[in-house]
């Protein structure tokens, strides 16, 4: 049931949007986006894909003649519906009318003070739309699959679910019948099931109304489901472009290939192949190909000059001198060797755990009747939507949430659910790594301090020994030791998450609880972090409880999986078993909705 484009783009010769020679830069100097040309046919969906810092959002905003504070559009000529427009504030009247925008976070994109119908009517009013505004607005709600009753139309954004909010955003964007809609990560904040529905909706709207769309995302899997064409951006430039199926099947740019190899997939679980190095920042871009420093097929020519975006036929273009050498994507199936030995005692045993939240209305059950074991060196995944209780379970095991029933046993010893009642050794043994590494690190402590502290407190190391240990651990998580002197704010997201892991390792734990540790990271960084965790449990025999909503990640790292629904485990089993043959309808629904790149280009592998 996933939304798949069934009809080809309605191309009639005139571009809905075309931009050429787009250059956007910081007021302070360096270019953020350079040499970008985009042509979008009517009713076409272009996936604009890139990781953070690639310039994809800057490009998307520039298409509306908008640049954020401190950013300027330097050059570029834009035609909308065949008419040239200046890419500046003079575009105001075209915005919303000819080209409109849907932003990433629907919860923040809607004015909390306006009823949703007013939000739509505001746009209609701004563009002098004819007819009864209320009627049009109500019709728009209907168009995006929402109720069009007056009662619903008079709701405020906070009275809607995330999915409904995003539909309202889309309704606003479509209300003046634009030729092009720019969607900036429109489903990133939504759960997979809602995401799947929104994607389906977008395709339907395109089919019915012939609206062209630029779909900006970091997630190749998502875009593979809906895009007609995909443009991959790296370091401010488009490095590869082409029809979706062909591009995904035979990536020609080594970056595209690396990106695909980094995506964990639940349909075809495979060993991730992280790209070396990290993306270059704005202003640090080398002369020549920006990807050259990370590229396995680099030659001297690559670093001499920036390669041009070369047409290679089949509607494809690639910015690589050696694109012909790029090897085909390979999928190394994941061979999961059981790391736990039979007969070994479990590291962690949770029995009949029950936890509640206290709210103003009273107690709300967060998790009930949770029982599971983790063997030393094993990885157990807890999967569920946000609010399913998975984080509460992790916090209870870490001693941060008081349980109201059940027992937690670590290596045969019963654990109190209150951290302060645990012995130092018990506290050392269980470490928690958080979703958002930026929040978890004290911004006033250097990275070295952050890592050395648990080593001192929980392992009793001396000052110099703990600093030495911090340097060792930084190397262990593949960060240069000099990073120890830096502050968290000076690091990238991936670096911070590695620091978070290093800090957990400083305690020499037996069990690491990973709470959505990769969900804030780019896929290529995620791949590297997942690889690191895999390596750690191999080498150190650490047990992992891995909490995630991403089934692809589960498929990649977990030996066992438990699916949580409304605080209860609805399905559990060996990972392959659960993912291949889901029994519970909830698991089935999750799997069906989860985006995948598997099978793109061949018609066989679509999920569903």
């Amino acid at each position: 049931m996933s939304g798949v484009p069934s009809s080809p783009p309605v191309a009639d010769g005139t571009a809905a949007l075309s931009v050429s020679g787009l250059r956007v830069g910081l007021s302070s100097g360096p270019a953020v986006v350079d040499e970008v040309d985009i042509r979008l046919g009517r009713g076409e969906i272009l996936g604009l894909v890139g990781e953070s810092g690639s310039g994809k959002t800057t490009t998307a905003l520039a298409l509306l003649g908008y640049s954020g504070p401190g950013v300027e559009i330097w050059e570029g000529s834009l035609e909308l519906d065949g008419t040239g427009v200046a890419m500046d504030e003079s575009m105001r009247s075209s915005r919303g009318a000819v080209i409109s925008y849907v932003s990433q976070n629907p919860g923040r994109a809607l004015n909390p003070a306006l009823r949703i119908i007013d939000a739509i009517e505001d746009l209609l009013r701004a563009h002098g739309a004819p007819g009864s505004r209320e009627e049009v607005a109500r019709k728009m709600l209907d168009t995006v699959g929402l109720e069009s009753t007056q009662a619903f139309a008079r709701r405020y954004p906070h009275q809607l679910s995330g999915g409904q909010q995003q539909r309202v955003c889309i309704a606003v964007a479509l209300s003046c019948d634009p030729a092009v809609v720019v969607l900036d990560e429109p489903t990133t904040g939504l759960d997979v099931v809602t995401q799947a529905r929104i994607l389906e909706e977008l395709v339907r709207l395109r089919d019915e109304q012939g609206i062209a769309m630029v779909y900006v995302t970091h997630d190749l899997a998502v875009v593979s489901n809906i895009a007609d064409r995909i443009a991959v951006m790296y370091a401010g430039r488009i490095v590869e472009e082409g029809p979706a199926a062909s591009l995904l099947a035979t990536p020609r740019h080594p970056y595209t290939r690396g990106l695909l190899a980094s995506i964990p997939d639940h349909v075809n679980p495979r060993r991730l192949d992280p790209m070396p190095g990290t993306a270059v920042g704005v202003g640090e871009r080398p002369t020549g190909c920006s990807f050259a420093p990370r590229c396995g097929q680099r030659t001297d020519a690559c670093t001499a000059a920036m390669p041009a975006l070369e047409e290679i036929g089949d509607g494809r273009a690639v910015r690589c001198l050696h694109w012909e050498k790029t090897p085909p994507s390979e999928s190394v199936p994941l061979i999961r060797s059981s790391r736990s030995r039979a007969g070994e005692a479990p590291l962690l045993a949770v029995e009949n755990l029950r936890a509640e939240h206290r709210t103003r209305e009273g107690r709300v059950l967060a998790a009930a009747d949770i029982s599971f074991e983790i063997m030393p060196g094993a990885c157990v995944a807890l999967v569920g939507e946000s609010g399913s209780g998975k984080t509460t379970i992790a916090r209870a095991i870490a001693g941060l949430h008081e349980i109201s029933g059940g027992t937690i046993t670590l290596a045969g010893e019963s654990l109190s659910s209150l951290s302060y009642r645990r012995t130092v050794d018990q506290r050392r043994a269980v470490q928690l790594v958080f979703q958002n590494p930026a929040d978890a690190l004290n911004p006033r402590h250097t990275v070295g301090d952050a890592i050395a502290r648990p080593a001192r407190i929980l392992r009793g190391l001396g000052r110099s020994a703990s600093i030495e240990e911090a340097r060792r651990l930084l190397e262990r998580v593949r960060l240069p030791a000099r990073i120890a002197a830096r502050f968290p704010s000076e690091l990238s997201g991936g670096e911070r998450q590695r620091v978070g892991i290093a800090r957990a390792l400083a305690a020499e734990p037996d069990l690491i609880l990973c709470d959505e540790v990769t969900s804030a990271l780019d896929v290529s960084v995620q791949a590297a972090v997942l690889a690191l965790l895999d390596e750690l449990r191999d080498e150190l025999g650490v047990g992992l409880l891995f909490i995630t909503h991403d089934l692809g990640v589960v498929a990649t790292v977990a030996d066992e999986v438990m699916v949580l629904e409304k605080g209860a485990i609805c399905e559990r089993g060996r990972t392959e078993q659960v993912l291949r043959h889901p029994q519970h309808p909830y698991t089935q629904r999750l799997l069906a909705a989860a985006p995948t790149v598997a099978g793109v280009g061949s018609d066989s592998g679509r999920a569903g």
């Binding site: 004015n111 505001d122 109720e147 529905r197 629904r589």
Partner: protein, 351 residues
Amino acid sequence: MNAELEQDPLAPVGVAAPPAARVPRGSHPVLRFLLRRCAVGFLTLAAVSVILFAATNILPGDVAQTVLGKEATPERVAALRSELHLNESVVARYGHWVEGLVQGNLGDSAVQVAQNAPDPSVGSMIATPLVNSLILALIASILIIPLALVLGTIAALRAGKSTDYAVSYGSLILGSLPEFVVGTFLILLFFNELDLYPPVALVPPGASPLDNPEALVLPLLTLLAASLPFGARQVRAGVVESLKEDYVTVARLGGIPERRVLSRYALRNALPASIQAFAQTIQYLFGGIIVVEAVFAYPGLGNLLTNAVLTRDVTLVLAIALVIAAVFVVINIVADLLVVFLVPKLRTGLK
């Protein structure tokens, strides 16, 4: 695809389902909120009254002695003690006082009783000054709110530019000067130098301060100088924050005219925070009014309070303090109510 299906396919435990249950149910929740806030305000006042009463009645010595001075003859002290019910216990006196309050009687001025004044009731002494002060405060508020909104918004829009610095630092300097310094400076400038406005705001008996609006110019300017900066800075902060919000960018990208984006998107959402700031500003204004009234000899509550303190008229001080506390409570309730009206999330969340 329909909305019902999506409403909460996987509604997690502990997360209340957002839909229909939260649709506003007429004005009743707001009324209930108002009543609740009034009840809280009433309790606040009750607590304040206890504290004030205790502070003025459990002092060493007693009220009669304090009012009459140490030279008063024992007979006079005794007479006044009985007139003021000082022979009864503190609790009983508090009871009498509260009983009077409930009937709208703020009590008698101890000094006036001691003076054998024919009408010693505090109510009749307070009425005119209170109205005068409220007039001053009201005009000041009416001026401050739009000015703060305009200046704050301008500063926010020009954040980091010279206009912003001018407004921000100018207001910081102005706001940090005590009222009497500003007042005296304004008198020097507008009266002594330019001879534009009178330096005092006397109100003849039976007249209204509004009869001679010219005289109100300098007191109002002084109040403005003292209070506007705080308000403007709060508005600036609020607008700067809301300008960063996604919905402002999205509105701009939707082609909504900038003026409308500012008013309906940025300012509209900065307003609730600003209203709290305005409530504080107006409360602060009441503090400033006491000084300003002295500088400009304006016959308001501040002047009366000064008089009451100087004559050690404890019951009058008590009554004025209570009236000011009541004004503060009312301002807070009004502010809360406005915020609730302006923030749909709060309004619809009312039960």
